[in-house]
Symmetry: C2
Subunit: 191 residues, 2 copies
């Protein structure tokens, strides 16, 4: 039984997207990785449309069991934070429209899960993502590596994710356990 996670590092200028299959023994395999970029010369509605259409295509093509999105903080750079939040809203709603569970993880959760340190730098994250996924070359740009790291983080972490996005109706299961349970139930029903 494999859990397929689609990770998204949201942004208007560059949105990193990575798909990873994780087996129950935690072994992870990269399925696809990419970056969707939009020009600052486009109006906001056209930029969000490009991102919405790209996410739709990735969700339709890869049919992930869960979508992991970087949690946006208002402490970020003021000039970019609103665009990041708007892009993340589009991504989260696209998953929700398909009934795919969404989990949110903070940058420090991702760093800690992948490198063992919540304060690791971007290079360390890219290096370990490359090693964990047995890639021949580091994924570039950093947004692509971050998206893969998010997907890995979601599959590996327990006790984080959706619940902290505002309440939980999932009983005593952590969101990660819930995603496993949902994916297992789906596998029993459909495969």
């Amino acid at each position: 039984m494999t859990l397929r996670v689609l990770g998204v590092d949201p942004g208007l200028t560059r949105c990193g997207i990575g798909v990873v299959d994780i087996e129950q023994n935690r072994r992870a395999t990269m399925v696809a990785v990419g970056v969707v970029g939009t020009s600052a010369e486009l109006t906001l509605d056209k930029r969000l449309l490009v991102i919405a259409q790209a996410i739709d295509e990735w969700l339709d093509l890869h049919e992930p069991d869960v979508v992991a999105v970087e949690r946006v903080f208002s402490q970020m750079n003021v000039s970019t934070v609103m665009g990041v939040a708007q892009a993340s809203g589009v991504v989260i709603a696209a998953a929700a429209r398909r009934g795919i569970p969404v989990a949110l993880h903070t940058p420090s959760e991702v760093k800690a899960a992948v490198t063992g340190s919540g304060t690791a730098n971007k290079d360390a994250v890219t290096k370990l993502v490359t090693k964990i996924l047995r890639l021949s070359a580091p994924p570039k740009p950093a947004d692509a590596a971050d998206a893969l790291a998010l997907a890995l983080t979601h599959a590996w972490r327990a006790g984080s994710g959706m619940g902290s996005a505002g309440g939980s109706s999932k009983g005593t299961l952590t969101p990660a356990q819930k995603a496993w349970a949902d994916a297992e139930a789906k596998a029993r029903r459909a495969r």
Copy 2:
């Protein structure tokens, strides 16, 4: 020839939506007004889904010529700004998916357009919206009145809106003029 504007005051807890028809002599008539609320006990993805589905219904039902959305500022209350930005991203992308132009207006632009003063309070905006639209009672809650005020602002203002969302490919027309021109072209073609 009438311009139909759907105004949205975005938010996760309450999203105000108002539809106004504006004639070329600036006379405005309310078509519909409403508020979509989501509970903070729902997860973020479920909240954004409720908003996405509501906006889809309003766009399908009223077929506006243009959508006017309140421009979100990072100077807002830190605890709510991210949710407002995520909701606005969902709304803007929903319009963009349908090819409907989107315009953004700041709260002070709205206050100035409706009351004549950029620093007017919420009560003054509600009062004037009620008067301008010849309503028998003030629209409530304030988010509903704000959505109607946004729609009025868009129809009345020239030289603002989409262009300031990041570049413009509309030649020498202001966004308001472009919306009129588009609506007129559409009317010539289809009605």
